[in-house]
């Protein structure tokens, strides 16, 4: 028996958030379901088939991270996006570390939310296709000595201690075709799990990429700015974004996922 399908499940204890997301989703003609945190949420998740879950972090009954953990335990592979009114670097890092595909601080604009939903729906489809081994999705594998933050941003340490960072193939595929790449300047500082680049697409949406590490930018890839398609063609080599000197390398490495684990 096929499960009933719905696009988005919002887990939040604030009605205004549920209403807001419903409004935004209606613009994209997506269906939204909502749930209070706690058991009810899990009942809904097992009863229906969702493309995406948007979950608040600061919940009274059950903390959003607990929900995230519980979903991993129950082998639910629906992508999860965390959101909170208490947006700190720590919360963002923790969300991505625990398996959320994205993080969005409140209050968000319609455009921010739409771009996020777009990525997530694409992510969901890619995952589906990958599961069914559809030939048309040609994923470029991440080199095994690379590390990544969540699924989006990768890093590769050079012998001289500098680190190359870029966007993963999977992330690029959730946003392509990319019309414009916006990068920070050399000398500026990156903070782990904060936006480090913006990819603009034809539909006027801007997609932020969250940095894999903190550090000082010593070089940026001007070629990517000129030819954004480099990102799609060769995301792990010619499509790199920055070379940085990491500032908290050992500390931040602990929450990164080795790409070698993708091959199992």
């Amino acid at each position: 028996m096929m499960k009933e399908h719905c696009n988005i499940l919002v887990i939040d204890d604030e009605q205004v958030i549920i209403d807001s997301i419903s409004k935004i989703a209606s613009l994209e003609e997506l269906t939204v379901d909502s749930s209070l945190p706690g058991k009810v949420a899990f009942e809904k998740i097992s009863a229906k088939d969702y493309d995406l879950i948007i979950c608040d972090i600061m919940l009274l009954e059950m903390d959003g991270f607990q929900i995230l953990n519980e979903l991993v335990k129950r082998n639910v592979d629906t992508p999860v996006i965390m959101t909170t009114g208490y947006s700190t670097i720590e919360n963002a890092v923790k969300s991505l570390y625990l398996g959320a595909i994205d993080f969005i601080p409140k209050p968000f604009t319609i455009d921010e939310m739409i771009s996020l939903i777009h990525r997530a729906m694409r992510y969901s489809k890619l995952l589906e296709a990958k599961k069914k081994n559809v030939e048309s999705v040609l994923l470029v594998p991440c080199p095994s000595k690379y590390y990544r933050l969540g699924y989006s941003c990768w890093m590769n340490k050079e012998l001289d201690g500098s680190v190359f960072i870029g966007a993963s193939d999977f992330f690029v595929k959730t946003v392509e075709p990319i019309k414009l790449v916006e990068l920070l300047n050399t000398g500026e500082i990156l903070t782990q799990a904060s936006p480090c680049a913006k990819f603009r697409t034809d539909d006027e949406l801007a997609h932020p990429l969250y940095s894999v590490l903190s550090g000082n930018i010593i070089e940026r890839n001007e070629k990517v700015i000129e030819q954004p398609e480099l990102l799609e063609k060769d995301p792990y080599f010619d499509g790199w974004l920055y070379r940085i000197i990491p500032t908290e390398f050992d500390y931040e490495m602990k929450i990164l996922i080795p790409c070698s684990s993708d091959r199992s």
């Binding site: 208490y86 604009t109 500082i189 000082n216």
Partner: protein, 631 residues
């Protein structure tokens, strides 16, 4: 009741007094009794001698009536119980009590015992042996008896009237007995007197001791106890007055010193705690406000998309969206202020940031006829900082300066650079054990900064030691009594993993060395026996002297009274009433702290009638190096 020191003291002293005075009185009365008795004895002996002498002639003449007469007369004396003379065989031949005449005395009887103990006839006896004290019948007073042997003299044996054998040495015995009634009365009154005296003395001593204990022990102790209770209850400013010059007074003075120090440190802590709690408040507010803001933002933007054909409405909605976005930024700023966000640092030129800040206040300065004087360090190095935040710092300082001046005045802005040894200025912001448990303890602050907490075992004692978080400073706090120089074991409070480097020895004392990993910044090492102050942080030492950029902003305004100096960095402290929120300087403090910098203030209150100009200087020191704050 015996819980009080004073009561205990009084009790001990009283018991001692009772014992001493009691023993003394006892022996005193004993001695007096003895003296009295000896006196009576002597008197009796004399009397008995007199009787013997008085009757001597009559005896020689054997004038029995005359002898009886003398004895009767003597016997009339009320003090004298009985006078009798016995012959050798023990027959009473004369007596002042007629009933006794002719009675035979048992030689074993008490009165004869001394002489006849060995059935030996009476010979020469000492006076002591001739006297005896006895009770004739149980209900009468004690009686003292003295016997006086009558010896055979040549005149007796040669007398013609009644001859005694010359071989007999003792012819008879004169026995005089005295009633001791009077003496006993006197002894008794002596005893009573002594006892009364003793009791009076004991009570007097008790009162005197009691008074002194109350005055010099009880009251100060009570005051000390009261003071500790006051301090425990939070009244940290409580002072002990009426301090004597004795040890208790000294104790009181060190108590006052202690509370003063406590007060000072708590003042310092106050600022950081207040900032922290304000941070929590801000975080809570941010969380609460962001939900409704989301609604406003979504619905207004939604309407904006839906009303593309209504320009008037678009305009209004745009205002709502714009203002909501502004609110979003303000709340974000609040979170930044709450130090929940990392400053966005990049290389920047302080002189340029100052230019921009001055441009913002240029109009206001001109209106108030204030001049801004610049003294720029042309070789000022660029530093890593969040330019926007630093600009806000300068702006707040300028606005405060303008407020302080009012009209007509000068603000001087000076930049310079210095370098300082890392020791004594570098804060250890992160420290972990081998298993990466953090050792930083925000609960226990030293100099306002989170200390480094380690478990310590020393001589069987176990507790915690809190290391001074400033490299090279040694205001460590030891939670246990530490026998300095003993072999201490230091370990992680979470997993107990040792922090002692077994391969190293302290170069000062040869003792053990602790080695604490600082993530990405090497290790802190130091003398683990705390006998000396050896410490090394190779990572920081290798970076050499730390370079700083200094910015001094001086105004010649009204100045800040000394009593306000410690308060101005507190959130919501303002002397400007409705016009000021009192957040300016506390925001500055947070930003500078976030940049690992320090801000200090010097001020002089002006007194224009006296011709004394006032003024205030805020000095900021920012590290040039790119050692990012560990948040």
């Amino acid at each position: 009741m015996f819980r009080k020191i004073g009561t205990k003291l009084i009790l001990v002293v009283s018991v001692t007094a009772v014992i001493i005075i009691g023993v003394f009185s006892y022996f005193n009365i004993e001695r007096q009794t003895e003296v009295l008795r000896a006196e009576v004895q002597r008197h009796a002996n004399q009397l008995s001698e007199s009787v013997k002498n008085a009757t001597r002639f009559a005896m020689l003449k054997n004038d029995r009536d005359y002898i009886q007469q003398i004895i009767d007369r003597i016997g009339k004396d009320p003090a004298i119980n009985d006078v009798k003379i016995m012959n050798k065989e023990g027959e009473i031949i004369y007596s002042s009590r007629p009933g006794n005449m002719g009675k035979m005395l048992d030689k074993q009887a008490e009165s004869c015992y001394a002489c006849h103990a060995a059935n030996r006839p009476l010979e020469k006896l000492s006076m002591k042996n001739r006297t005896r004290i006895f009770t004739a019948n149980p209900d009468s007073a004690q009686v003292l008896g003295i016997i006086n042997p009558i010896y055979n003299e040549p005149s007796c044996s040669e007398s013609d009237c009644h001859a005694h054998e010359p071989s007999a040495k003792v012819l008879g015995v004169l026995d005089v007995t005295f009633s001791l009634k009077d003496i006993e009365k006197q002894i008794q009154s002596n005893e009573i007197q002594g006892a009364v005296l003793a009791v009076v003395a004991i009570v007097a001593i008790g009162f005197i001791i009691g008074f002194f204990v109350k005055r010099y022990v009880d009251q100060p102790v009570k005051e000390l106890v009261n003071a500790t209770e006051q301090v425990a209850a939070g009244n940290i400013n409580y002072k002990i007055t009426n301090l004597g010059k004795d040890e208790l007074g000294k104790l009181g003075r060190s108590f006052n010193d202690m509370t003063k120090k406590l007060d000072e440190t708590s003042q310092q802590l106050y600022q950081s705690t207040k900032m922290a709690s304000l941070g929590q408040l801000a975080a809570g507010v941010a969380h609460e406000i962001n939900n409704p803001l989301t609604g406003v933002l979504t619905y207004s933007s939604f309407l904006l998309k839906r009303t593309k054909d209504n320009p008037q409405m678009q305009e209004d909605l745009n205002v709502i969206v714009r203002e909501t976005m502004r609110s979003r930024e303000i709340v974000k700023g609040l979170l930044d202020f709450a130090r929940q966000s990392v400053p966005k640092k990049s290389l920047c030129n302080i002189n340029e940031i100052l230019d921009r800040a001055i441009a913002v206040v240029a109009n206001q300065v001109k209106l108030n006829r204030i001049t801004i004087e610049r003294i720029n360090d042309p070789e000022l190095p660029e530093i890593t900082a969040d330019a926007n935040q630093i600009q806000q710092v300068f702006l707040n300082l300028f606005v405060n300066g303008i407020d302080a001046i009012g009209q007509d005045g000068k603000i001087q802005v000076r930049t310079s650079h210095t370098s300082l040894s890392p020791r004594g200025i570098t804060q250890i912001k992160n420290a972990v054990c081998g298993k990466t448990h953090s050792l930083i303890d925000p609960q226990h602050k030293i100099g306002g900064m989170s200390s480094i907490k380690m478990k310590i075992k020393s001589n069987g004692n176990e507790g915690f030691v809190y290391l001074d978080p400033i490299y090279g400073n040694h205001r460590h706090y030891f939670g246990i009594n530490l026998d300095k120089g003993s072999s201490n074991n230091l370990s992680c409070p979470t997993c107990d993993m040792s922090l002692i480097d077994k391969t190293a020895k302290c170069p000062e004392c040869g003792g053990p060395v602790y080695k604490i990993p600082v993530p990405n910044q090497g290790f802190i090492e130091g003398c683990a026996s705390f006998k000396d102050i050896w410490q090394r942080w190779g990572y920081v030492d290798a970076a050499g002297e730390k370079k700083f950029v200094e910015i001094d902003i001086t105004d010649n305004g009204c100045g800040i009274p000394t009593e306000n100096l410690s308060k101005i960095f507190e959130p919501f402290f303002s002397t400007k009433g409705q016009r000021g929120t009192g957040l300016g300087l506390s925001v500055i403090w947070g930003i500078i702290d976030n940049h690992n910098g320090v801000i200090s203030v010097q001020s002089e209150v002006g007194n224009l009638p006296a011709g004394k100009a006032g003024g205030t200087t805020f000095s900021i020191r920012l590290p040039q190096g790119n050692t990012k704050a560990f948040v």
